[in-house]
Symmetry: C2
Subunit: 380 residues, 2 copies
């Protein structure tokens, strides 16, 4: 049996959510299931397919729930994530980042050979494309390829429409690679604060993508897939009817940043926070604050601070206080929690926070009902 | 055999450092061995013992190298780290953070029962002390306890000298707990910018600790151990002859923050950077920068940005560019690296960066000579 950590004996024990060994990543299954169902209904309503991003959760179990709700498969950001998903027989695995080194190409070809349930990768560079083609030819198994388009983000992707078209034509002419379509993930647009601006920039980007599709189809190259969009733009992209599928990720959990957009009326996401970090008070000798056991090894630190979801006096705030400790700052006059007292925080940024944890402590209400490993944690 | 990741076939292959599957944590063994020897010589010269902090490296192999160089044992910040070290038969494991929940107390007592090579824990709270005493009494095995003193840091520790003395007296009077001494770790002083101020504040704190020791010894309570200090103050504490042992951690690797102190003349640490993150260029279509495969899942993000150690044009800088990507910003007119090109970065903050990686890729010069798991990564 896999080691499920110190909380394994609590599975199924009524009230066990409050008794977890901490720090612990807590997943509220009722809320996550609702988020998955809501996104699935949205996709059906707008006629888009779903290929949710597994980089958010890195979990075979959650990928399976998404597929059971109608997703075609999952996206992965790294080769290591894709290996975990393909080997767990999750269908329709698509790798959203270019894979360029000899080591990654060898893993790509091996994984494609293993896979019989749909598998694809992006390219954004002619030399990389030639190397992938030659590696695929050496083993003789066709490989599905999408062309990654820049989408104003500047992280990966062909920089111009002409470059994207040329790459697509080169794939289409290959005897061993199969051209599957265009990826245009505008990560930078997910958090544009004003909805009207986010909408305008998204539609502008989609117009450029539509132009690429038109040019390809006018020369007889079919573009079955156009993939992109995230939780911040999931309801904007379908307006333009360009995306055939959505790569949404964070909607399963939500986080502090997406919640702020909701609170401030910048977005109207119909999703609820389902993911928390539970931490215990471990020291109470300082004036004005107590020290908890979740610090910068339990929370992503590049974005906002964690927000307190339950267990602390109203008006308290949380910040990290070293690698293993957090500082729960109490409002004046608030009662001081005792050592051992538990609080739960909303994760500041869901993907990299999950990446710091080995397990999801899956709860329904106040009871731990299961423990799921973060299967692809740290996999490159 | 343990899975050592995709780089296992490269062990012993000449020149393999340049061929690692990326992102990869790279440990230069020659340099780390020199750091370990330098600190060991310093400790011998000043007559202090060493109990280096394993929270930095989380590695059984590195702990063993430190012990082989004369360390009494290692410090651990979490119960999970201590479990890894004790079960690997590393001697002299000391837990530097209070352990307060029922779950952590059960693990503490179980680990003490397992251990025959020296084991201790801190307390900073009378209720916690009473609970540990009662748990230890229930199994009948003595447990070594140190009293944690606040040391102006405010994270953990008794807040006043009187509180520390009272806790020490309570331990000393217990039939089952054994009073071993005082811990005073001033984490906040490690990075005080001006050496003269760091020195003054360190000595002031040590005077308070010396007062506690004096009060205890005057009432017949022996204080065999006074433990504390870090890489930023390792050469200040011995002046006062208060610490009997040093809890230094970062000296094995160094990082951007400690290196800045060196460069700016704020400190004269005789240690060299031995730890790097190797990353590959994966996309080259943007103006002014290229995209690499190490982002905020490969680097600690709460402190400075990574610094480039090798492989990039002079004047380049590195920043994260999403979860899995980094942005190598090139100076004007610099040649643009091609896809697959490798660079190595100094880690921004060593402890939490190591915590993001599964393996040390151990090199001598340009050859991968071994792969060591980060044994206690993520262990709480």
């Amino acid at each position: 049996m896999t080691d499920l950590g110190p909380n394994a004996p609590l599975i199924g024990v009524p009230g066990s959510r409050a008794r977890l060994d901490t720090p612990a990543l807590v997943l509220d299954l009722d809320l996550m299931e609702r988020n998955i169902a809501t996104m699935a209904a949205h996709a059906r309503a707008v006629g888009a397919a779903l290929r949710p991003h597994a980089k958010t959760h890195k979990s075979i179990r959650i990928a399976e729930l998404q597929v059971a709700a109608g997703a075609l498969g999952v996206c992965c950001a790294t080769m290591g994530e894709a290996e975990i998903m393909v080997r767990a027989r999750v269908p329709g695995v698509h790798i959203t980042s270019p894979q360029v080194t000899p080591s990654k190409l060898a893993r790509l070809i091996a994984l494609n050979a293993d896979n019989h349930r749909g598998f694809s990768v992006v390219v954004d560079n002619p030399r990389n494309l030639a190397e992938i083609e030659s590696a695929a030819r050496a083993v003789g198994k066709p490989l599905d390829v999408l062309v990654d388009f820049y989408a104003n983000h500047g992280r990966t992707g062909a920089a111009t429409e002409a470059d994207a078209v040329a790459l697509a034509q080169a794939v289409a002419q290959s005897g061993i690679l199969r051209f599957r379509g265009i990826q245009a993930y505008a990560g930078n647009l997910q958090h544009v604060a004003v909805r009207a601006e986010r909408r305008a920039r998204t539609l502008e980007m989609l117009t450029r993508v539509a132009g690429i599709v038109e040019r390809l189809e006018s020369t007889g190259i079919k573009v079955p897939v156009v993939t992109g969009a995230g939780t911040g733009t999931f309801d904007l992209d379908p307006e333009a009817h360009v995306f055939t599928e959505l790569q949404v990720g964070s909607y399963v959990f939500m986080d502090v940043d997406y919640n702020r957009a909701l609170k401030e009326g910048r977005n109207e996401l119909p999703f609820e926070t389902s993911l928390f970090v539970q931490t215990a008070v471990v020291s109470t000798n300082a004036p004005g604050w107590v020290t908890c056991d979740a610090g910068l090894k339990s929370f992503a630190t590049e974005g906002p601070k964690p927000e307190i979801a339950l267990g602390a006096p109203a008006g308290s705030t949380y910040t990290w206080f070293g690698d293993e400790h957090g500082k729960l700052i109490l409002p004046e006059g608030a009662p001081r929690p005792e050592i051992g007292h538990k609080i739960e925080c909303v994760t500041p940024h869901d993907d990299p926070t999950v990446n710091l944890h080995d397990f999801y402590h899956v709860v329904r209400g106040d009871t731990l009902v299961d423990i799921w490993p973060v299967d692809a944690r740290g996999k490159r």
